[in-house]
């Protein structure tokens, strides 16, 4: 079990090089080798979704992958979203709508929903619930999470509209 494999990957924009055991779970690698403890582990069976990260932009369960499988790939964890001073719009919406209680499942839910909020401008509650259905939250009953996700899409969409408008204005002014 002591065979080590050299891996090189990008985590939250930084290149990381390490030697790891073949059996080391990606979740343990992130948490205990890189000290990115924002990714939580709730079941190690891939059911609860707490350990969800973005793997080449797609949400995956980090407890169901080995660290060696991340070699030459790009990973984003909750630490790669906003900071405490500058929250990502999705994080901000969770704060606004009380979308978290104990907060243990929250990083996994945020990472699951990032591609969703980026690609959906005005989702229905049913669509949001469907997207959330792979993540378990024991505290909230989900309703405020759904509200938060919807608010985030509105904010991000509005933000884009503003950005688009200002670009259009800038182009107009140049002319």
């Amino acid at each position: 079990m002591s065979d080590l494999y050299a891996i090189k990957l990008t985590v939250n924009g930084a290149v990381v090089e390490r030697e790891v055991e073949g059996r080391l779970l990606l979740s343990d690698f992130l948490r205990h080798e890189l000290c990115l403890t924002g990714t939580h582990v709730g079941c190690e069976h891939g059911v609860c979704g707490a350990c969800t990260i973005l793997f080449d932009g797609q949400p995956v369960r980090s407890c169901l992958m080995f660290a060696v499988q991340a070699n030459r790939h790009e990973i984003r964890t909750v630490e790669g979203l906003g900071t405490m001073e500058h929250l990502h719009p999705l994080q901000e919406a969770f704060h606004e709508k009380h979308g978290l209680q104990c907060g243990f499942c929250t990083p996994g839910i945020l990472m699951t929903m990032i591609p969703f909020v980026e690609s959906h401008h005005n989702p229905t509650h049913e669509e949001i619930r469907e997207a959330l259905a792979g993540n378990i939250c024991r505290c909230t009953g989900y309703e405020f999470i759904v509200d938060a996700v919807q608010l985030a899409t509105q904010k991000m969409h509005a933000g884009m509209k503003i950005a688009e408008a200002s670009i259009a204005n800038a182009i107009q002014e140049k002319r």
Partner: protein, 781 residues
């Protein structure tokens, strides 16, 4: 006058840390030289231990040590009993069998620890578990509650000669006389099974013994840090001050984390002192399903005696309660059943008896709702059955029996989990029911919508129930509030926090009194190095019991600040006001002094102070209620049942609740919704299934169904009524378990109503699609 902060819908202080992955949970603690523990657990539910050979495991590279019960020598001991027996109840029989930290000679439930490995990594520790050779001689297991008491049943505790754990009877009035006078007496038997607490974070424990400073630091996600500190110190012969228990952020509690006598609590501190290495243990999900604690299994034989008008004359309940293999948590759960059965109703004659039984299953301790749901379930079901028989509507029969507002304080004559008589302190029970009925538009649904939908072939049903939630029991909690030279405030209290928003609601209590921003109040919970008095977070008591201590301490600090400011500003007290971190003269705002400056003056480094003065802008206070404060409410729901699959859509869910003074409505809504989601799980999805050999058949989140976002109603409709409790300065009552308590009863009524033409009678909980299908098939035979 200070700004009103209590009652404001304020966003939580703790969110940014949690949302960015910067919050410290127990498994995030990393210490230099830290090693890892893993437990070998019994596959058998009942067996004699013949031998455990750890020699091969000890030789595995990276393994530091392996221990069995024998290796702990004289240190091995059972217990302590965490909750004392209910001696306050006359004639109570209680056979104490506290938890052994690790099995010795005999195994009594599947998952009981047999050995513990300490290794350089968790991976190596788990490898070494496979190296341990265990020889067990299996015994016949007993899991059935009634059969456990039959002669010849396998005995869990041979020295006891019986599987009877306790037998406690209480009677208020005289049920036999009442039933003799009744027009109608109805008898039924109920079986209630329950599920796991299933916090998303499993248990965790990190211990670090510093030999040179003779100091032990423990990080644990337990709900009772001070009792844990006391237990560890007593076990090791240390003074309490040598042990500091820190509960960092905790990923949900819901009950089982109240335990302070599990294997890790008892064994790992001892091992850490011997190995002189910090040790971490994190429970995995399978261990959580097998060997933490859960709450389940009661069989009730119930009788209700009524007049023909539906007025309850008496109620009688004799029930078996499964305590699992041991009873370290006393009788909290079944005593909650005793005090919650008559619930919202005025019942003069009530008999209740619990027969508590040992079985080869994991131990039973409170899980959100903690025995209350059982009492509410049987009463509400019996009212439904009586209503049908007497041709009354479910709403009518309840209205006729509710305790009226002029009857408070209402003495129930029944002793509760806090060993004093359960007295309902205040409320407006008819109003909560009325509001729920109005919100769900009960009459309109029954008269117009239901007939129309039924005509379309839809199976839609409505349920309306009432409930009480006994909360905020003693003994007491305390707090210390301090303003320092920066003008910022720190409040410390002994209870730990598992997501209830204490970092904000407690800050609000202080902010209002001391006149600072909520964001400028730092709340520290559950760190015995900061505050070492208190009992813990259980029975929905944090916001009320700790909250009142905090509020009182903050009031003292306010008075201290005003007194000092009055001297400094040479102004009479009554002319001063405190706001925005400043004490000022009301009419001359420029004549002022900041709290920071006052704090510095209250703590001079030279000179003299008033001999009667305690230094600093600081105060400590305690609050202990004479008995619990009782919240109350009503739930109404409409279900739509698929007639083929029995899949259920909850079309509407209304909950009206009275928890007295509300500190933060946002947090309150979250607590209610979370409780309801657990109640929905307990109604239709969650059930720990044991087979006859004592094996859990669904010990993973794949097989044990927790409600998902798609299982919940789209929108919960919340109604609040506020009747402040006269028991405490804030007027608060707890709310943490509210949603979980009434939901299964409302769900059962709605299901029965939806499937009215099948004429089924639901006498069990939880239900499921297959249970409903089976029930209908049986009835059709």
């Amino acid at each position: 006058m200070s700004t009103k902060v209590i009652g404001q819908r304020i966003k939580r202080n703790e969110d940014p840390q949690l949302l960015t992955g910067q919050a410290l949970f127990t498994d995030d603690v990393q210490l230099s030289g830290m090693v890892h523990a893993a437990f070998l657990r019994s596959d058998h539910a009942h067996a004699m231990i013949k031998s455990i050979d750890t020699s091969v495991a000890k030789k595995r590279p990276g393994v530091l040590a392996v221990y069995t019960a024998e290796d702990f020598g004289d240190y091995w001991h059972v217990g302590p009993l965490q909750v004392p027996p209910p001696l306050a109840i006359p004639g109570a029989v209680f056979n104490a069998r506290p938890l052994p930290p690790i099995a010795k000679d005999k195994v009594r439930f599947s998952g009981e620890p047999l050995a513990v490995v300490i290794a350089e990594s968790r991976y190596i520790a788990e490898d070494a578990l496979a190296d341990i050779l265990v020889e067990l001689e299996p015994l016949k297991a007993i899991t059935n509650l009634e059969k456990a008491l039959e002669p010849g049943a396998p005995l869990l505790h041979d020295d006891l000669g019986t599987n009877l754990a306790a037998d406690v009877r209480q009677e208020h009035g005289n049920y036999a006389e009442a039933s003799a006078k009744a027009d109608v007496v109805i008898k039924r038997r109920f079986h209630i099974d329950r599920g796991a607490a299933a916090a998303m974070e499993n248990r965790g424990f990190v211990v670090d013994w510093d030999k040179r400073s003779r100091q032990m630091n423990v990080w644990s996600n337990c709900q009772a840090p001070i009792p844990l500190r006391n237990t560890i110190a007593a076990n090791l012969g240390l003074t309490a001050s040598q042990v500091r228990v820190i509960t960092p952020f905790v990923g949900g509690g819901f009950g089982p984390k109240i335990m302070t006598s599990q294997a890790e609590d008892v064994l790992l501190p001892w091992i850490a002192m011997r190995l002189e290495r910090p040790i971490k243990w994190i429970e995995d999900r399978r261990e959580n399903f097998l060997a933490t604690t859960s709450e389940r299994d009661q069989i009730h034989d119930v009788e209700i005696a009524l007049t023909k008008d539906g007025k309850i004359l008496g109620f009688s309940d004799t029930f078996y309660h499964n305590t699992g293999a041991y009873d370290p948590y006393g009788m909290t759960v079944p005593l909650n059943t005793h005090t919650h059965t008559t619930g919202s109703y005025d019942i003069a004659n009530f008999f209740t008896r619990v027969i508590m039984v040992f079985t080869n299953t994991m131990i039973v301790t409170p899980v959100r709702g903690a025995g209350r749901m059982y009492g509410v379930y049987i009463m509400e079901r019996m009212l439904d059955i009586a209503a049908k028989q007497l041709k009354l509507s479910p709403v009518e029969i309840r209205q006729r029996n509710l305790i009226q507002s002029n009857q408070f304080p209402y003495k129930t004559g029944i002793i509760g989990q806090d060993f004093v008589e359960n007295i309902l302190d205040s409320g407006n029970y008819p109003a909560t029911l009325q509001k729920a009925v109005e919100m769900i538009e009960y009459d309109k649904f029954v008269k117009e919508e239901q007939p129309r939908l039924r005509a379309e072939g839809k199976k839609v049903g409505i349920g309306v129930v009432c409930f009480v939630e006994g909360t905020a029991v003693g003994p007491y909690e305390g707090a210390r509030v301090n303003v320092d030279g920066t003008g910022k405030v720190t409040v410390v209290t002994g209870i730990s926090s598992q997501g209830q928003g204490h970092f904000t609601s407690f800050a609000q209590l202080v902010a209002e009194q001391v006149g600072v921003k909520v964001g400028d109040v730092r709340v520290i919970t559950g760190d015995t190095g900061h505050f070492h008095w208190g009992a813990g977070t259980f029975a929905s008591r944090g916001a009320t019991v700790a909250g009142n201590a905090i509020y009182t301490a903050a009031t003292k600090v306010r008075n201290k600040a005003l007194d000092l400011a009055s001297k400094v500003l040479e102004t009479p007290l009554e002319e001063l006001e405190i706001e925005d971190g400043v004490v000022r003269v009301a009419d001359i705002p420029q004549k002022s002094i900041s709290l920071g400056e006052l704090a510095t003056r209250a703590n001079p480094m030279r000179g003299t102070i008033d001999p009667n003065m305690e230094p600093g802008l600081e105060a400590t206070a305690f609050y202990g209620p004479p008995h619990g404060a009782t919240g109350q409410g009503a739930v109404a729901m409409i279900v739509d049942v698929d007639p083929e699959t029995y899949a259920v859509k909850i079309k509407r869910f209304v909950i009206v609740h009275d928890c007295g003074t509300v500190i933060n409505p946002l947090i309150l809504d979250g607590q209610i919704q979370g409780g309801v989601s657990m109640g929905i799980g307990n109604s239709y999805y969650e059930q720990i299934i044991y087979d006859g050999h004592g094996q859990v058949m669904n010990a993973s989140l794949m097989d044990y169904l927790l409600p998902l976002s798609t299982d919940m109603p789209l929108k919960m409709e919340l109604g609040h009524i506020s009747t402040p409790s006269p028991l405490n300065p804030l007027g608060a009552k707890g709310v943490g378990e509210a949603g979980a308590i009434p939901t299964p009863a409302a769900f059962a009524q709605a299901m029965e109503n939806a499937l009215a033409d099948e004429k089924i009678e639901i006498l069990q909980s939880p239900l499921s699609q297959s249970i409903m299908w089976q029930m209908v098939q049986e009835k059709r035979k």
